[in-house]
Amino acid sequence: MEASVADRIRRDISENDVVLYMKGTPIFPQCGFSAAVVQVLGQLDVKYKSFDILIDPGLREGIKEFSNWPTLPQLYVKGEFVGGCDIVKEMYQAGELAALFQAKGIATAAGA
């Protein structure tokens, strides 16, 4: 992985509380798994920054290596890797995702 890609990821996840690396955009997700995470974040009404890895091949490979996680989407909260689609959905259903956002001081629908 190019050092610049890792640097960019490090900067993006430190400058944004919630970051989603995904296929497509929140409006037009290009993959069902990415769409599922977008839906969860929408339910919680969380503000997040998304990156479309389909238009950025360097980022697509770089993020997998950076996270040591072979698939996308990937969710980061306050610089920490939270998981992919299955983990995000499980955490949401268990109420753990809302709790995580609350613990990190990130506004959600429930906390509003």
Binding site: P70, D86, I87
Partner: protein, 90 residues
């Protein structure tokens, strides 16, 4: 050997699961990116293993991804995962 047979063999050897369900979801992803014309591109796995005890969700998924790294680098585009300890498998 089919990919699903290989997945079963590898996970059984590495995790000695008390329950293992492998669903081939490939047909549901036809025409979507990553779908392979010969199938066996998308799977959903339920893995119940005592080795998950004390591991976070991320760590459990990483264990499975590591075991199946070869498959994920090849034809397998996506693996949906449910990873449970025997106590959680109710």
């Amino acid at each position: 050997m089919t990919i699903s047979a290989r997945i079963e063999q590898k996970l059984t050897a590495a995790l000695t699961p008390s329950r293992l369900v492998i669903n081939d979801d490939s047909a549901r992803h036809q025409g979507h990116g990553g779908h392979h014309p010969e199938g066996e591109s998308h799977f959903h796995l339920t893995v119940v293993s005592a080795l998950f005890e004390g591991q976070s969700r991320v760590e459990r998924h990483r264990m499975v991804y590591d075991i199946l790294a070869e498959e994920l680098a090849g034809r397998v585009h996506a693996i949906g995962l449910r990873t449970l300890t025997p106590a959680e498998d109710v």
